[in-house]
Symmetry: none
DNA sequence: CTTTAACCGAGACGGTACGTCTGGTCTTAAT
DNA sequence: ATTAAGACCAGACGTACCGTCTCGGTTAAAG
């Protein structure tokens, strides 16, 4: 995950001739409050009202900068919660993937973080406006895996004809399916087997 | 998917000491209204209030028989929307799976049905009470695939050591991931390739 | 002031086949809270939010039965604050009017009541929806004076040609003008002089 | 109404050592916008925010020079709306009053002006800070009538003992009462009768 | 002819209340 | 006993203005 822009309007701010500058304190307080509440009461019990109260910030300030609770939480998640996901390049596709999958599956060791992730995915289903930024975030994660696989193809570890998109979606699909349905655990220790299975399917 | 009981008590109503009997009309009207609304305005815009109004039924009647909107919609989905999913047994694992995957992916050709599915998955994340019946429904679908794979092992088409659970979750994981994120299509015509890839991964 | 209907829809409630009946406790609690707040913090600081909180009642319950703060306060004023205004019939027009005017002007001895009256008049200027019920209440007060004057005409104490409407508005006009502008006191003791002056103007 | 100073502090600003002078354009734009909005959407829908937007002026500029919407509107009213009220001195008390009353009542022929007047009176009830300048303006109008009456006493047209204040308040009271309650019209043509009735009451 | 204080626009800030909405519960009258 | 009707409490929603507070920039009188 690269360094994140401020939530709204990064560059295309047109005239800017005057006006009070945005309060970084308010922004930080909101994001911090969102994370705190997320960990205390869970995604779905979080409300904008509660975030505002906790952050000591007016509701209107939140609405000025974020479209929805989900957008805010996604921001907060990226900025303060998400451990920097690995972007490995060890020379071995299997090893690269194993590192990534292990990191991915280790989220389940942090139940509240897992809950937040599930909440974000849910919100993306219910709120079309949020589906967009959420999709962008998902793509940024897929891109990491796609790069690993592309290098594998270049090195000849994978056949030229491999459907890298499908392979990537297999990787994330299993993760999300188990995360969302919760019928079976996601053990980081089993990452090597999973990766082997995945690479098998490509030749 | 076997025929589903009505959510509560259809037949096993022993202690009939008197009183008005349950109105089957009310039940049908509610389910019908739920389906109609689902197709007209989408899962998330459906509310119990609206269903009650459309069905000409009191809110309390709905709450008496269903725990939540999601439980109701799941019922309605099973009863009136879901085309009977295939439970193939052709003698070939690949063919069995292809039939199933093609049927699965063809949901995307019915956008409103897809939307309902996504809504149900979302709801299961947000409402722990709904996660339970939803999970049971998911298991009933997984069971079909697991049976196909078990027969494949019996016939020697798959190695004894194959992790059938993982294979099953690969199959559903890809489906759900693309359904939920929407970044790539799910084409029933590509079911054969997908199944080949899947079976490859097991050697 | 005659006994007052419940604030909304007295008769034209059509079918009424079932449903929870209106909670008299809620209604009383709301009116009581309104009066209390009126006396504690003044008309304009009273808000529906505060009334709801004080009464232990949901906001929606208030909005169900009253259109606005002003409508509610008018109701509360009529029911629990307004001392029954006299409707005198002593046989003497001068005496009748004196009784009425003294009662009217004595409101200024209760500053919070006076404040409420001023608030109601103000609201009637700003909220056209409230102007209607407020106007009706004003008319009910004017009617008392008009009856007194009509009897005076019948008895021959006032000329047939007297403009009773104008006389009535003189009486109330002076009261409201001083109440609203506050430049001069309204002394009940001076009621006789005022009435004399008023009756003088008619011959 | 004499020409009006800039709303606040004309003289008593001592330590002017430098600084940009007040923009007359901004002041005019604000007053003009206030009047326009007053006529377009009515007193109560006018907000400082809207005035600022319409005038192309910052909110803070308005708050720098006026305490409240009401203060601003009173200013605007005096400066651009109020037709110069007559200050007659014909030698006859009855005629002087008739001129004045006719002018007063003719406001009702300009509904938006009437609406503004009512809004100002309302605001004076709700905002104690505004009650002060509003009261001053009311006094300036009363003073005109008081002078007319005082001349009448000097000429012997009115008894020495006449309560001029009460007579004045009768005159304005009737006007405001009908303006505010709106139950009966105010016809300038009936000014002579009204004045006769008024003078009668003093003997 | 340079300070410098007061002005200007823009617009973000913390607040408050609004009136609406949905959820889930409870009560009543009718069947 | 169960229904339809519908009132009830609870509380979040997103909006509108409020009045205050930076900002960066302008303007004219005082030195």
């Amino acid at each position: 995950m690269p360094a994140q822009e401020p939530p709204a309007d990064p560059a295309p701010r047109p005239p800017r001739t005057g006006g009070r500058t945005r309060s970084q304190e308010a922004r930080s307080a909101v994001l911090a409050a969102a994370v705190e509440l997320l960990e205390e009461i869970g995604y779905q019990a979080v409300t904008i009202e509660r975030i505002a109260a906790r952050a000591g910030v007016a509701k209107s300030t939140i609405y000025r900068w974020w479209k929805s609770k989900a957008a805010l939480v996604l921001d907060a998640y990226r900025e303060t919660v998400e451990q920097r996901m690995p972007d490995p390049d060890t020379g071995s596709t299997a090893e690269d993937l194993t590192v990534f999958v292990a990191a991915l599956h280790s989220v389940t060791e942090r139940p509240l973080r897992a809950r937040a992730l599930r909440g974000l995915m849910a919100e993306a289903q219910l709120d079309p406006d949020f589906a967009e930024p959420f999709g962008a975030w998902v793509q940024s994660r897929r891109a990491v895996v796609l790069r690993v696989l592309a290098r594998g193809v270049d090195r000849g570890e994978l056949p030229r004809a491999t459907d890298l998109e499908a392979l990537t979606d297999q990787l994330f699909g299993l993760f999300w399916y188990r995360l969302l349905v919760g019928h079976l655990p996601l053990d980081p220790a089993r990452a090597p087997q999973l990766v082997a299975q995945l690479l098998n399917s490509a030749h």
